[in-house]
């Protein structure tokens, strides 16, 4: 019985510490390197950054798009990234359905989708104008 208590408490400690370390990994605003308006940043922070960053365990996600290094991309790569963001949102491919089953609070509202789409459109046009 004593043994069992020990195991339970150990387990609890483990659970607690893992949730703490998870809290540590939680994205904070400073880690998104690209300049963006606050409303966009809030959406990216809540629904995208968790997987799309250099230290994410999701290799596929961070290869496709990394909000920690995005500012280093060439203008052409940025245009590509913006277009992909727009496509996956318009087609409801992101955030992935499986992920949303576990974290329904990450689902984008219509308003949030519009914020992101308007942002990438505006940024793409600005990038083009800069180069012309």
């Amino acid at each position: 019985m004593k043994n069992l208590n020990l195991i339970t408490s150990l387990f609890l400690v483990l659970l607690l510490s893992s949730s703490i370390s998870f809290a540590d990994e939680k994205p904070d605003e400073k880690k998104i390197t690209l300049k963006m308006p606050e409303d966009v940043r809030a959406v990216v922070d809540n629904s995208c950054f968790g997987c799309h960053n250099t230290d994410s365990r999701n290799e596929d996600a961070r290869e496709h798009l990394d909000f920690k290094t995005m500012h280093q991309l060439s203008d052409i790569k940025k245009l590509g990234a913006f277009k992909e963001i727009r496509e996956v949102i318009e087609e409801n491919e992101m955030p992935p359905k499986k992920f949303l089953e576990r974290r329904p609070e990450k689902e984008l509202t219509e308003e949030q989708k519009k914020i992101l789409i308007d942002w990438v459109k505006k940024e793409s046009v600005a990038l083009m104008n800069q180069n012309q």
């Binding site: 052409i76 245009l79 590509g80």
Partner: protein, 154 residues
């Protein structure tokens, strides 16, 4: 037992004949001025690389081999073409805005570099579509330089 076997074979052949009447529409459109080969001044090498390795599925003009017209192969091929065109249709090149052109070129360069395109299954049957390292390099270099040009509005 033999009777049943014969019947099965017969039914199979019959089915094969019947499905020939259900053919997908062929991807044989006219080449107009929006086609990338018409609307861009491409180096000879690039035009032939595109034609040999990309345009069967990424344009409105497929060069079919005879057995591509036999069901069920024709269904399978048609699925590939439909999917390829929905991702990238170089027959519509001229209708795109500069951002679409740049992102398409960037995608093309990335896919070719990574060896994801042309598809392995396609290359197996179309030996001309097999790109050497040099061909990959010239295709990606072309895509990158054209996207720079489109970006700067040259």
């Amino acid at each position: 037992m033999r009777r049943i076997f014969q019947l099965v074979i017969l039914l199979f052949i019959l089915a094969l004949v019947v499905i020939q009447f259900f053919q997908p529409e062929k991807n044989k459109g006219e080449i107009d001025s929006n086609h990338i080969l018409k609307s861009e001044q491409l180096p000879e090498e690039i035009s032939s690389l595109l034609a040999n390795a990309c345009l069967d599925c990424h344009s409105n003009q497929t060069n079919y081999l005879w057995y591509h017209q036999v069901a069920p192969v024709s269904w399978f091929i048609n699925g590939h073409i439909t999917e390829g065109k929905s991702e990238l249709n170089l027959s519509d090149w001229g209708t795109w805005d500069p951002i679409d052109k740049i992102t398409a070129l960037d995608d093309m360069a990335t896919e070719v570099k990574k060896g994801k395109m042309p598809l392995q299954s396609y290359v197996l049957i179309h030996r001309k579509a097999k790109l050497s390292e040099e061909q990959k390099a010239s295709l990606t270099a072309w895509a990158e330089s054209l996207s720079e040009k489109v970006l700067t509005g040259e």
